[in-house]
Amino acid sequence: MASMKVEAEQYGDRKVYSVAAFNRGVAGWLARLPTVWVEGEVTELRRQDRWQSVFFTLKDPGDGSCLPTSMPRGQFDALRLELGNGERVHVYGRPELFEARGELRLRALSIERFGLGDHLAALERLKQKLSAEGLFERGRPLPRFPRKVGLLTGNDAAAKRDVLTAITTRFPPAQVVVAETYVQGPRAAPALVTALQDLSAVAAVDVVVLARGGGSFEDLLPFSDERLVRAVASCPLPIVSAVGHEQDTPLTDLAADARASTPSLAARLVVPDADELRERLSQTRSRLHRAPLLLVERKRARLDGAYGRLRALSPRATLERGYSIVRDSGRIVRTGAELHEGTHVDVELGEGGFGAVVEETR
């Protein structure tokens, strides 16, 4: 573009530009910027046969930043992209000022659809990056008896109902706090992050289940969004990710503490089985009932044992076996030499006794 002289009027020492001159000047500066690739989602696509250009807004799926974009209609049609709103594209173009309105826009020279392969590659790069940061190393133990379970789910009824049913069937006294939010589309990731923060701030919530039914690869993309993955990884509470089906592995699955591929598996992870608890309680009670009797029996057995030993050691038991004790004037006689003919002795038997006179000694 030819270098442009932008004329200003002089009012005393003040230089004043007309709007047209200002816009022309800025347009001239913008025109010097290089041609680049920009990635975004197509929204507000407007194409009419009588228009010279096709217009759409390129939207950043991350924070929603917008960039008006235009492309000559003939060029757009020649690409045969059949673009629809919400599709991810790469646009090759340069910035341009629409002078009549003072609006910045991207003038597209080419557009390429951002395909599944690109999504997968981007996801893989993100996975590597987050993995290197150590975001996928959580595996904290889940509480066995959470006071309250936080359930973060979509406003699609099915996933919510399935998980709630599974939880309350397994553990009827369960206390559940449900946060519903968008789980699909560009608003989903930030909405999920906010809802997760809100849920984890609720008093007595000890564990959070992140639940979403199955869906297409694109449907599940918010669950691989960097913001949500980071929020899951830094959540102070343990998180169970129950997103999609067995074959899906959104990045939140990797960042969460545990993963459940079905609602009933999720329930098994976050609440105890009430029937099992009842059974165990009843067994414990039977043991409690038997215990005092057992204790008394054990004490008695010990007492009996001690008494038996005491008895075995007493001379009485020896006498009962047929031995006798001979006493001479109260003194126990141990050898024949202690006696002589005619000595009166006392003989003690197992039962009773008698007096005797010694006839001979040996």
Binding site: V176, V178, A191, D198, V202, A291, L295
Partner: protein
């Protein structure tokens, strides 16, 4: 006292009684405490009504 705490104490009491370590006077007290804990556990399981509350969502800024 939570269900978990009550259950844990109850099982400890049963073990203590079964091991025969306790003396008879203590055994009575332990048994009574065990009964109380068992009742508490059952109450927690049966009378606590499950509750599902909805968290009002904050609109993302």
């Amino acid at each position: 006292m939570t269900f978990e705490e009550a259950q844990r104490e109850l099982e400890r009491i049963v073990q203590q009684l079964e091991s025969g370590q306790a003396d008879l006077d203590d055994a009575i007290k332990l048994w009574e405490r065990g009964e109380e804990l068992h009742r508490l556990c059952l109450e927690k399981l049966d009378s606590a009504q499950g509750r599902i509350e909805a968290l009002k969502p904050t609109e993302p800024a």
